[in-house]
Symmetry: none
Subunit: 193 residues, 2 copies
DNA sequence: GTTGTTATTAGCACTTGGTACTAATATCAG
DNA sequence: CTGATATTAGTACCAAGTGCTAATAACAAC
């Protein structure tokens, strides 16, 4: 072969373009010391679109995201059972939009959101805020999984307006997430910040 | 004047392009019922670049803050500065949809999401997952607040694929959130490419 | 009405970064 | 040496423009 095998060049070409989609065929031709036509043949074989299309793709991806801001709304997960100041249960179906594209594992903050929502909901008070929490992601959760989260109120200190809630999330009976939440509540004694 | 004053058309033109930078002069000409040349004169007077430049701008904005371990679109808040495996900074503007209607205080999981996203992003690895975290909501955050979150990688244990990241969020210089995140990463020592 | 000014439209050459296609040449393997 | 594969060259064409000149059109003022 010449300077480099075709295969090797195409491998590097893919990488180069992935790293910097803004590169033109001409620049690539110079870089790999081949003709522009060769680069074009390579792109065709590798099904890599032309510069403008690549840029457009990058741009439209950003644009979609800027518009939608955040998909987390009111309560994450559906509360199916609740006994105020005692315990609560919610269900959250993990979908494609909740997972990392790269590895299909649910982003931690969605599991946290479900737990946090439930911790807030279980407090029988007008105002409940999370003050502190200690959480562990035990096992990866994937799209299609149904996460069942259980909140149990384990302690209450009205002196300091605090309530402690323990959260456990499971998928098919297996624990995937555990957390301890310290919640602030107004009721009990007076003021608020 | 004709159908519309020049001023009014140019005002709408700016708006239209701001809303959708992907529109061509021809489409604009049809929309405003004028010739393509008029649109071009308008763009020139308003100093609005051509379609391709606009798209390139949008694309490069995202690409500037390129993150190896994670496409930027999966991050809550905008990453404004990053030094992989060292530190990162993101900005998140709290809006009405992020707060409790009842008291106007931001829901904890939004702050967590920003912190968690940033903790994932700062890891220079293909796969980064939150394993454990200990967080404290120091002070309530409200709609309109601009939350600046800083992530600092404080420790790394490649034996166990773990990296510890410290997160601090501030609003107007005041700390509102702190957290310690234990992250899992695939690549251990010497496995960097 | 005629004149002046601004606004609009038309047309042409040229640019970038390509596609699509054909044809020639180079390189290597058996 | 021959055939397959790889590479290069060259042409016509496209989108979405820029830059330029020139012709109209619309309206306002005198």
């Amino acid at each position: 072969m010449l300077r480099q095998t075709k295969k090797e060049r195409q491998r590097l070409l893919s990488e180069t373009i992935a790293e910097n989609p803004f590169v033109t065929d001409e620049q690539l031709a110079t870089q790999f010391q081949v003709s522009v036509q060769t680069i074009r043949l390579d792109r065709m074989e590798l099904a890599i679109p032309e510069l403008r299309e690549r840029i457009k793709d990058v741009a439209s991806k950003t644009y979609e995201n800027e518009v939608k801001s955040l998909p987390i709304d009111e309560v994450i997960g559906e509360i199916v059972d609740i006994e105020l100041d005692n315990r609560a249960l919610s269900i959250f179906d993990v979908k494609e939009e909740h997972v990392f594209q790269r590895n299909g594992i649910a982003r931690g903050h969605h599991l946290f959101a479900q737990a946090n929502s439930l911790a807030v909901a279980v407090i029988d008070d007008e105002l409940a805020l999370t003050v502190h929490s200690n959480i562990t992601f035990v096992k990866p959760v994937r799209a299609g999984d149904r996460v069942i989260t259980k909140a149990i109120v384990v302690g209450r200190d009205d002196e300091n307006h605090r309530t402690k809630v323990e959260l456990t999330s499971t998928v098919n009976g297996e624990t995937v997430f555990v957390g301890e939440f310290d919640m602030y509540r107004t009721k009990g004694k007076g003021e608020q910040q």
